[in-house]
Assembly symmetry: C2
């Protein structure tokens, strides 16, 4: 089955829009989704940014929040801007890596985005994430211990290295088996169409 | 008739894609297009950029050229990357302002984008633009003199000020009479749908 890789970071607003529809869009074209959390931070630092570009560039930031509200409404998604932005996504990305390897990564990702941008909740700490994990029927204490173990930390580092190697410079991004890169939730359909047309 | 304002600068690659289809997309929804050339340069300088962000951020630049090639093919448009990027768009933007006021702005804009990104030609100088103007049946010497007169220069400055006042931070952008801003060629349909739904 043809696959697209969906690259996301919980600090990325537009990744919320992509996460909530990527499975629907892909499955309609017979394409499978490979969920890949990664950290945008090191990539932004390499570009000279020590904060979100939406905070650094005021007009762009103002636009992004309005754009997100409009697009969420079009998608029928709740949208609430969290008080702090961006939130530290390190722990959530580590947990998502573990979930990817254990088969609950997509569910955790959707639940965490819904908490953060659907309800405006904080998602940075163990206390924030434990109820999300518990609601999924997971043992949150156990999951959080595994995600922050040396192996758990390494998994996210490998994922971020793989993102950089794939040319990823923002989130969400999509890559296809033949090496094409698509950036932005608004490129999801194009990425899936490309993957379906260039499979095998 | 409801209107959208289409903000563009000839230094913007994605504005080529928008310029070639904005009239088609808008007219299908009964929306009129107000063509507004402006200068991105001063806006980028205010953001701390003294070059195109596609040159400053290497991965983003590499992506943009590939993305442009794919999208131009989807639109059935020829695409050839000019040797130098970005080109100085000051003169072409001044000419486009004059054309806007004299009724040939859209035709000049499409012809200049087609020359620059369809054929990879230079568009920075009077020598570059004269044949484009002559092909449109205009008196190029006369047009270039008017466009670079004090009034001609002022017209573009006013247009750029209006872009900044509208919150424009990149090109292409679209604004609606009720004050919504949409950024990117991929937002054209959304902008037109918004304008049509919120008219009167």
């Amino acid at each position: 089955m043809t696959q697209i890789t969906f690259w996301y970071d919980f600090a990325s607003t537009y990744s919320y829009l992509a996460a909530m529809r990527v499975e629907d869009v892909a499955s309609k074209s017979g394409v499978e989704v490979n969920w890949q959390p990664f950290l945008l931070g090191p990539i932004f630092v390499a570009q000279g940014w020590t904060d979100s570009p939406f905070n650094i560039y005021e007009a762009k930031g103002k636009y992004m929040w309005r754009d997100m509200a409009r697009l969420a409404e079009d998608q029928g998604l709740p949208f609430k801007r969290p008080e702090a932005f961006p939130q530290n996504s390190l722990l959530a990305c580590r947990v998502a890596c573990l979930g990817r390897d254990q088969g609950w990564g997509a569910d955790f990702t959707r639940a965490t985005y819904a908490a953060q941008f659907g309800q405006g909740r904080t998602i940075a700490t163990s206390e924030d994430l434990a109820p999300v994990l518990d609601d999924l029927g997971l043992n949150s204490a156990d999951v959080l211990a595994q995600a922050t173990s040396p192996d758990g930390k390494l998994a996210l580092r490998h994922s971020t290295d793989a993102a950089i190697a794939a040319g990823v410079f923002g989130a969400p991004s999509f890559t296809t088996p033949d090496g094409e890169l698509f950036w932005g939730s608004d490129r999801l359909e194009q990425a899936v169409t490309w993957a379906a047309a260039h499979s095998g």
